[in-house]
């Protein structure tokens, strides 16, 4: 193997790719060649580092220098200063990695990473996901080898059971138990499936694992195949994830070439292969029975359970289905033992959880923390708090199935059970932060709009009930709310929860119920006072000119598209509310900040 004195890691995750990391990559190539460094410095394109907000991200080892927001123009300086002369270019470093005395902090001391613990994401941002050799160099496929040559299927299942791992796809079902059910089911053929449909509309944890470390999922599926007695796997992945699909395709080919998938793996008589199946844009296909119908090539409609997939799944055969992140934990559990995994997390929730931090937060990106970390730690320490000095209002977890958590619960340790107790849920890992400028009624309407759109229509409570709820919310946000609407929403919500056929319908009312629970006053303000306290709901807004601040410059009259503003020069202007279309143009134009919305 060649020896390189430096490694330059360039993030090729979706976030950084969008902010131009491909140009940075080619600039490095050119500059290294120009300086004849290509045999001394190795360029590696990796998966997501997690701090997508400051992308494109470049890390240079051995120093662990963390460069952020790098453009192609910056590359010649990094090459000539850092790589040629050994002087780190401090002004290009991520701000938190430079200490006050100008010393450079190593990556794991940066606030964003300090409290994180990376198990599922351990290789993301570390290895090149398109090279199986790099995965192998980091103990890749060692767990599969161990299982196949040293352990029986029963022992394998026992290890997973003992670890306490629970499903990361949302429901938190104990993984070892599920494996055991599938192993015990009778059938001449069994399947192992991976749920990579990632339906939560504001989250990308699974995507990052697939893009940054696809082999960890392949290896885990093969281990599962051995444990339950399956020889065929399917990964059901969203078609909207082109980079993930490409890297998975490469990974499967490379694993086949090295005999890590296919016939007689590790010289044993265990055979296992994996095929990709692409979704086609239906949220309900994340639900296990719908997913299996979709793999079979049918409309992705859920069916009642039992029979559970472990007994009757894809093509009517016993099937094991786990989530991407669940799988990503498996090889580490096999290698480090169940006691190690048990030692991380809380009493009933072991290990770590990956969250996609988004919304009104400084460090948007991907974080992995031990279960039991509090929301406050995630938002303020790792996430760097709320931008622009605004006030925290709520954190949304669990996407369209979850709920909003208000400030009073910021110190709740995050695990499956505590989140359910406060009216939300762990979900798959979306964590969206909202500040005082977000309207909670509008957010509830947003999620319901999503579920109405995505309901498969098979059962009436979901098909009709959610539509009724959406109509009420629409009315409220338009200023036509009536007394009793809140109670109606609660009643409808409870009855949909108890009568819908699948998880989509059963959880659809949650965003509404949890916002009513914690932000009832905001609903009341919309209904009784016809006001949106956050200033979001257009129909309830009034744009007004404050007479005492208005100097009568007349600038606003010029930008108003409908001629709603009038007034003499040098005296206070007024807005004709019947004409105003609330476009907000005048608001930005007024040099004296005399125009306000409320």
């Amino acid at each position: 193997m060649e020896f390189y004195r430096s490694h330059v890691l360039i993030c090729g995750g979706t976030g950084c790719h969008s902010s131009g990391s491909a140009d940075v990559m080619s600039a490095f190539k050119t500059e290294l060649e120009k300086n004849k460094l290509e045999n001394e410095v190795k360029l590696v394109q990796t998966g997501c580092f997690g701090l997508c907000a400051v992308g494109p991200v470049v890390i240079v080892y051995p120093e662990g220098a963390f460069y952020s927001g790098i453009k192609a123009e910056d590359v010649p300086r990094i090459v000539s200063e850092h790589l040629l002369k050994g002087r780190i270019v401090t002004d290009l470093l991520y701000h938190d990695s430079v200490q006050e005395d100008k010393a450079v902090k190593s990556l794991d001391q940066v606030e964003f990473y300090r409290k994180q613990k990376r198990i599922a994401l351990r290789n993301c941002g570390v290895i090149n996901p398109e090279k199986i050799e790099e995965y192998i160099a980091f103990d890749g496929y060692k767990a599969l080898g161990k299982v196949l040559t040293e352990m029986t299927p029963e022992e394998t299942i026992a290890v997973i059971k003992a670890s306490g791992l629970r499903g990361r796809g949302g429901a938190g079902f104990p993984t070892g138990l599920k494996w055991e059910f599938t192993a015990k089911a009778k059938g001449d053929k069994k399947y192992v499936c991976c749920n990579a449909d990632e339906g939560d509309p504001g989250a990308f944890m699974d995507r990052s694992v697939l893009e940054g470390d696809p082999h960890s999922v392949l290896e885990a599926m093969a281990i599962a195949g051995y444990a339950v007695g399956a020889d065929q796997g399917y990964i059901y992945v969203r078609a909207e994830y082109p980079i993930a699909v490409k890297r998975l395709t490469i990974a499967i080919e490379q694993a086949r070439e090295l005999g890590l998938l296919g016939k007689n793996i590790f010289g044993t008589d265990f055979c296992f292969d994996i095929e990709l199946r692409l979704g086609a844009g239906a949220f309900v296909c994340g639900e296990e029975t719908a997913l299996m119908a979709s793999i079979e090539g049918k409309r992705g409609e859920p069916r009642p359970r039992p029979p559970f997939p472990a007994v009757k799944g894809v093509f009517g055969k016993p099937t094991l289905l786990n989530n991407v992140e669940t799988y990503a934990n498996i090889p580490q559990i096999i290698l480090n033992g169940p006691e190690w995994f048990q030692s991380i997390g809380t009493e009933k929730s072991k290990g770590t959880k990956v969250f996609a931090l988004g919304g009104k937060i400084n460090n948007t990106g991907l974080v992995e923390v031990p279960m039991g970390t509090t929301l406050r730690e995630i938002i303020y320490e790792i996430g760097g708090g709320i931008p622009n000095g605004k006030k925290f209002k709520a954190a949304q977890t669990g996407g369209p199935s979850g709920g909003c958590i208000p400030a009073e619960h910021l110190d709740t340790p995050i695990d499956y059970d505590s989140l359910t107790k406060i009216g939300s849920m762990m979900g798959s890992g979306g964590l969206i932060v909202m500040d005082e400028d977000n309207c909670m009624v509008d957010i509830a309407r947003f999620f319901l709009d999503f579920t109405v759109d995505e309901s498969c229509g098979k059962c009436p409570p979901c098909r009709i009930g959610t539509k009724r709820m959406l109509e009420i919310l629409d009315r409220i946000t338009k200023g036509q709310g009536q007394e009793g609407d809140i109670e109606k929403l609660e009643q409808l919500g409870m009855s949909i929860k108890s009568s819908a056929l699948c998880g989509l319908g059963q959880t659809a009312p949650n965003p509404v119920l949890s916002t009513i629970r914690y932000f009832r006053d905001e609903y009341e303000a919309h209904i009784r006072d016809k006001k949106c306290p956050a200033g979001v709901c257009q129909a309830l807004l009034q744009i007004m000119i404050q007479a005492d601040l208005c100097r009568g410059c007349g600038l606003c009259t010029k930008v108003c598209p409908v001629g709603a503003i009038s007034g003499e020069r040098k005296s206070a202007h007024t807005i004709d509310q019947s004409k105003c279309i609330k476009c907000g143009a005048c608001l930005e134009k007024c040099p004296f900040k005399a125009i306000v919305k409320g």
């Binding site: 979706t14 976030g15 997508c52 907000a53 400051v54 199946r277 979704g279 086609a280 844009g281 409309r299």
Partner: protein, 162 residues
């Protein structure tokens, strides 16, 4: 229809046949075949659905049922530039609705529609995985992040003159 288009379609149908032959023996071949067919033709016109039905021996009504169930399959041709505005949660709380509204105004079409000149299609999408840059939109493979409504006209004009 001009002769050249027919010729081109002939090639496409030959390619479709090749794809179907590849998947025919696998279990549950319909969705992969439909994906590939849409890639090939840009959408799933009736003749293509019928062709697949015949070749895979599946009733055409089933194929239509699948095509209409999944939002990614489209029965109408798409514009040359396909615009997707992210209405994922992270983008929504950062104001992506206003971006979508601006595009509706600028293009004069609703989400899900295509302009008459087949130049632009507009779509509301879910998380594109670039929440760090929210609010985000995509035009074909190009990602635009940290948008404000006043950016829209300039970006669209660039594509108009392409």
């Amino acid at each position: 229809m001009s002769v050249s288009i027919l010729e081109k379609d002939k090639e496409k149908f030959a390619e479709l046949k090749r794809i179907i032959d590849e998947y025919k023996e696998k279990e549950g071949p319909l969705m992969p075949v439909m994906h590939k067919a849409q890639e090939l033709f840009g959408y799933l016109p009736e003749e293509v659905q019928e062709y697949i039905a015949e070749a895979l021996d599946i009733p055409v009504s089933d194929i239509y049922g699948v095509a209409t169930f999944y939002s990614q399959f489209t029965l109408k041709p798409k514009g040359k530039y396909s615009i997707g505005v992210c209405l994922g949660t992270a983008c929504y709380v950062k104001g992506s609705q206003a971006i979508l509204d601006e595009l509706v105004k600028e293009l004069g079409i609703k989400p899900g529609d295509t302009t008459d000149d087949l130049k632009f299609s507009l779509e509301a999408t879910r998380c594109l995985g670039a929440c760090g840059l929210a609010p985000v939109m995509m035009i074909n493979d190009e990602v635009y992040g940290r948008l404000v409504p006043s950016d829209i006209k300039g970006i669209i004009d660039k594509y108009r003159s392409k």
